[in-house]
């Protein structure tokens, strides 16, 4: 029985890399992608690069909260409390 996707070429294989990392490929597609990877160092390198990008993005630290920005937000909280206590008055 001929198997679908067994003749996966690099041009199509690279389009599966992200879904592969997401675990979103059907088993048939995943199997054919993995088979392609075993025989193709370029597509293995391509997948490794996409994976390293995902890893590095997850490690990126957000900037530091400045004192001014923090003070602004504390003001927001204070104004909210004043507004609410104002509402409570008759």
């Amino acid at each position: 029985m001929p198997l679908l996707y067994d003749d996966l070429v690099c041009r199509d294989a690279v389009e599966l890399a992200s879904d592969y990392l997401e675990g979103a490929l059907s088993w048939r597609r995943r199997r054919s992608y993995e088979r392609h990877l075993r025989g193709c160092p370029h597509c293995r390198a391509h997948l490794a690069q996409v994976r390293s990008i995902v890893t590095e993005l997850g490690r990126a630290e957000p900037g530091q909260l400045t004192d001014d920005a923090r003070a602004d937000l504390m003001d927001v909280s204070r104004r909210y409390r004043e507004e609410r206590s104002g509402d409570a008055e008759p």
Binding site: P41, H42, A45, Q49, G63, L73
Partner: protein, 198 residues
């Protein structure tokens, strides 16, 4: 302290509790708002409105999502309202079925004409941790907005596909396509910058 209590305390006027939430979440919220709105001033406005929304209890926290996901959902909502006001609405539907990788990289038989430019050389010195991070920031900036927003929520902020789909009201298939294009776009940008630097 559980998430519900972390939210209840600032609402009761506990300023220190509010301060702790701000310290823990504002930097990442500002980064996310920056991906949604690009202008720093608008991003700051969106985070302020999100905190007010959180204090007012505009959206009920029902414990189904984590505190972080819930805060981000409020923020995404505020940011999208601001984007609409500023006529900067980002369309998330993709109507073309273009490939994410450059077709010119492949021969007629579908194989690579030129291998991907390595991120590391034989001794692994060319692109270790810090330089890759340095190349990622400008690469993110040039992504189309919808792709930048999706990759920020998923890969930078670490939210689940389900949460992102719910926040942006898009289908899982749409989310996957945009994420794929974003990751491919980042890879291509980094490769191009490596080529430029020789």
């Amino acid at each position: 302290m559980d998430d519900a209590e972390l939210i209840a305390r600032p609402r009761r006027g506990d300023e220190a509790a509010f301060g702790s939430l701000v310290t823990a979440h504002q930097p990442a919220m500002l980064r996310l708002a920056g991906a949604l709105l690009t202008s720093r001033a608008l991003a700051e406005e969106a985070t302020q409105e999100a905190w007010v929304g959180m204090l007012r209890g505009l959206d009920r926290f029902e414990g189904r999502a984590s505190l972080k996901t819930w805060l981000y959902a409020i923020l995404v909502n505020r940011a999208r309202t601001i984007a609409a006001r500023e006529r900067r609405t980002v369309p998330f539907d993709h109507t073309d079925d273009a490939r994410a990788e450059d077709p010119a990289r492949f021969a007629a038989d579908g194989s690579w004409t030129q291998a991907p430019v390595p991120f590391t050389d034989e001794v692994g010195e060319r692109l270790d941790h810090a330089p890759l991070v340095a190349r990622l920031a400008p690469a993110l900036d040039v992504l189309p907005p919808a792709q930048r927003i999706i990759v920020t929520l998923r890969d930078i902020e670490g939210l689940s596909s389900d949460d992102v789909c719910a926040m942006l009201e898009i289908t899982p298939a749409n989310q996957r396509v945009l994420l794929h294009r974003a990751r491919a776009g980042l890879r291509r940008s980094i490769e191009a910058s490596l080529k430029r630097d020789g």
